[in-house]
Symmetry: D2
Subunit: 347 residues, 4 copies
């Protein structure tokens, strides 16, 4: 049985375990103030070309989203996002638990547009009763999106401009940031993300780490007292060194990007194989997630040897399924699946 | 200038002011434990044919909604409602401020169906990742809805049955309850509401009181410790007598219903006049709100003499406006408007 | 039976009812944007000698405290106050419901000192682990305090200076503000309060209104978007006119202060009578609350004719009780009690 | 430089790293539903002699405290605890962030008593205005306490009985549970904790794991839908296997207890050495924390070679410092410190 259900099935890249081993008996101060975190933060600032950035490390994505959003909004403000956004759909209301409404915008491909943001703001402020309505206070987008699609450079620049015109912070959920940047369809660099977002994170959990998300605030003022928020939100890891060590390792020699690139290439191969075998794809994102349309029978047949997830019903009543590659996926695993697809085709 | 913008433009029915005058120097214990509240609660229990009901008085609608909802949900639960529901659209995120997500269901007429509720529950519990999704924990509907429409008896019975099958409390926002019950289209009685809902309120603010909403819990167990919630939510009026006195007066000799009936009849007259003058109505609810389609010029012209509110743009790009009658509206006021409509028609 | 349990036993000053009567059929826009609120706000700005102040009207004290505090704090901040402060002791955790810790400081007389505030701030910021501790973000005091004591002008100036040095807003709960200012022991004027606080309120509920608290923000910037907070917190009264009319009436010709002065003088008389009859007082505040020490027998005897409340057990094991005068208390009522005390003395 | 500042200075017990290595490329389902978590939970149920217990794994202590407390309280309820309790003093208001007041009880040794709990409940329910006061809804104690002291079996039985009489859940923070159970002063077994608490946790972070706390609910009903709370609170680790693997390892052959015992014995040795060298101890808990009284000079001198933390000023104006041993402390490290103490004595 080979599993493609998600991109966090395995532990971590072996070099991380090795570094944990090597440093295991170092005595480090806790809570992210150790030399490893400091060094990792420095490496990230350089990689982002953002010397004034504030970098903080949290454990997981939902925690990071709720903490960042809660730290930036006033109580009556909400966060604009795609209806499919992770904060709207798959975080058990963590943002609302912190007191804030998520303000979903309609989307078909997981992306929202600068025009949607501008309209939402205009509508709010033109409404005579705007004090009776949650005030949009920031914008959340995912790069790549939950459907594996990516914003183009110009789309992102327009969104960023809309946010700056309206003085709203732009927050980019980068749980799969590397997979997005390394997509063959992307022209964006990490430093573009750092320039266009006010705050974003470099996801570790799904990209080779045991866990961990590195939050980057473009300017320190926005991050003021953010560490109180981390602690209050339960996200301050006692042994913060673990986060520092993991991001040091991932940032070294571009390992983070290499792992992502390899996963994206394997996903491309898989996409091509699905198409070659005559299957439609729900969407083509170019990142590490592939969403073929399979009949129940086909899914059942494939499911005897491969693990994957039901995704959604399409508007025309067919079923889309999700296959993920990851930093840990091997060419051999993908090839086995590709072969099975060719067989499936002929049945 | 005659105003039809909303149904809370005037003070209150004169008999309430008179009772306030008569009782002004009575010394009453505070916080709703005075004899007036007790008597009003008793009158409401009788009117609802609900001898075991717990009745509590709060000041306003948003406060009541947030307090009731917060008292019934566990932290990770949300409340199902129409996307147009007041809690979703016009309460500045009061429910989310209390930590809960509002779970909007699509609607065109302000109503939701039992089928939508059942599907939402099935979808939630069939989702393999349901723990990552806000759990539907109660259902909120408005009677009448924010668009002035009303549920039929069978619709409401089906919704109630769906809620009981899934063990979800059904909460009916009755900010305009009387206007709904007295609609010529309605066959529902107050006791039907009390039988079908688990908790609902009899709105005073928009129906002849200075302010005040009477919350009725069908069974006392659901109301356990609810008064702590009222206090914590800032809704416990020090001089609770004011609420008791107002509801005593409104319940006496069916004044509450008489006032509502009169407003509904005037709204019917107004609807007929709009139609007679050739105007389409956005929706025909049969309660105290009328939503004609007017061009900008027509609205401007009418706006010289009458106050009313912009409501929404219709799918086909026209503009709908809202005119409300209320307990305070006079036949003469409506007749003046009707005459103006006839003139407007010929221009 | 004559009641002295609290200062909100009766309805309101008759001139308020009269004004409600006179204005009852005016058609006013809702939510505090009507001409009465505007006029009342103007009168308050003049009375406070604070032409740039932002004035908003809410319904009750707990609601006002939670809304103001929630609007000013960041999520990880708490509010310093006396351990006896109303927000700490008698609001069912309304501040915590909004996400903030109340940071109580020890007190014996209901007051806190500038030195306590400075020490709390120094302790916080000198603690190496301050990010693990709630950050003091504002100061709340009551004038008069919950024990009926008042801050002297110099005490208040020192507290205000400490707050400004540390850049913390100072919030004064003025639920009984008039009773404090009119105390024979007070040299403070309303404009001193307005100068020394960043935000405070002029309590109506306990001082002649049916309900209502007028919040004054010394500068508009601090009040930015505060009306969203009012709405979200359920405190935005639909018929805001009711608040405007009441404060117009109370501010006219200094009615608010006259009513308070009269209540304070009657309380002074009562204090003197208790002392003359040989009873100790728990504390002597000089406002409208009197706290005599009575044995259980004495309390029982007095309780046959007069209503009053148990307050607390003293450190030396005796029982203190609370008697309140109010705007509604008559000289005759107090005289009846004074006579009873003289009798009680001789038993 | 040898560090004794806290018990989370190093990584983890080597056998954990080894197991992570061995299992690194296993493909496991996420979110704590993998075979490792299942096996670890089973081992814990057996160790607790609690076959019906529900066991869940979270990442850190603050997160665990806030999540458990938030899952059990109704909105207007608070949690009783020692004033020194971690939730009251060192979690940046995480409990309040979730809407609940912490209700601190005075303590000198970090412990509270059954009598204090009973009095708090009686006081609450006897107060005529109890609806204006936060309702005690559960009890939180730490075993060992934040001062390294431990409850005796009879103390804990009395607390448990008080909680059951009042129908309040008893929650034991076991961040250092092993150090408490293995104290030479303790007669309590893990199964006693499991029998007397309604919910508690077995702390991993400070006792040999990289991170992780195993929450044990004595009965499943209390844990109903708790996993939604974990997810909403940001505590659901994507690679839950990491928690399962760590607790499997710690539970195997009693490693958890062996490591704790060794740390306690080294702390005992250190305590004895401080006393032998003539130093007073602030408190003698018998667990892994030692709190000697040192002058500033002595602390400065020792600080040249050893790391330790300032703890508190004693009532008589001296300074107490904290030295922790841990699972990672070696006999040689302690001996070096002991020798230094003997030298310090003679200076």
């Amino acid at each position: 049985m080979i599993h493609f259900e998600c991109d966090y099935l395995e532990g971590c890249h072996p070099s991380i375990l090795q570094r944990l081993q090597e440093t295991n008996f170092e005595q480090c101060v806790g809570y992210g103030e150790d030399p490893h975190c400091e060094r990792a933060a420095g490496m990230i600032r350089i990689a982002c070309d953002a010397p004034d950035a504030d970098v903080q490390f949290l454990v997981g994505g939902t925690q990071t989203n709720a903490t960042v959003i809660g730290s930036l909004l006033r109580p009556f403000q909400g966060v604009l996002c795609a209806a499919t956004g992770h904060i709207n759909a798959h975080e058990t209301g963590a943002v609302e638990h912190g007191g804030h409404k998520v303000l979903p915008l309609p989307t078909t491909d997981g992306k929202i547009t600068a025009a949607q943001i501008r309209t939402a703001l205009e509508d709010h402020w033109h409404d005579a009763n705007h004090e009776h309505i949650v005030q949009p206070g920031m914008v959340y987008i995912s790069f790549p999106t939950e459907l594996g699609t990516i914003y183009s450079k110009s789309e992102l620049e327009e969104i960023s401009a809309a946010c700056r015109d309206w003085e709203l912070p732009l927050f980019i959920d980068g749980a799969r940031l590397g997979y997005g940047l390394e997509s063959s369809r992307s022209r964006l660099l990490l430093k573009d993300i750092a320039r266009l977002a006010d705050v974003f994170y470099i996801g570790g959990t799904k990209q080779g780490a045991l866990f961990g998300e590195a939050v980057v605030f473009r300017n320190k003022e926005l991050a003021r007292d953010f560490r109180y928020c981390i602690k209050q939100g339960g996200g301050m890891l006692a042994k913060g060194r673990l986060l520092g060590i993991q991001f040091e390792t991932l940032m070294e020699n571009g390992l983070y990007f290499k792992l992502a690139r390899q996963a994206d290439r394997l996903a491309d191969k898989l996409s091509a194989a699905f198409r070659a075998a005559g299957f439609d794809l729900l969407i083509e994102g170019g990142t590490n997630q592939v969403f073929p349309i399979l009949s129940e029978e086909q899914a059942h047949k494939l499911g005897e040897e491969f693990g994957f997830e039901y995704w959604t019903r399409t508007p025309d009543g067919r079923d889309a399924w999700r296959f993920c590659t990851s930093w840990a996926t091997t060419e051999a695993q993908v090839d086995t699946l590709v072969t099975a697809l060719q067989t499936l085709k002929h049945e």
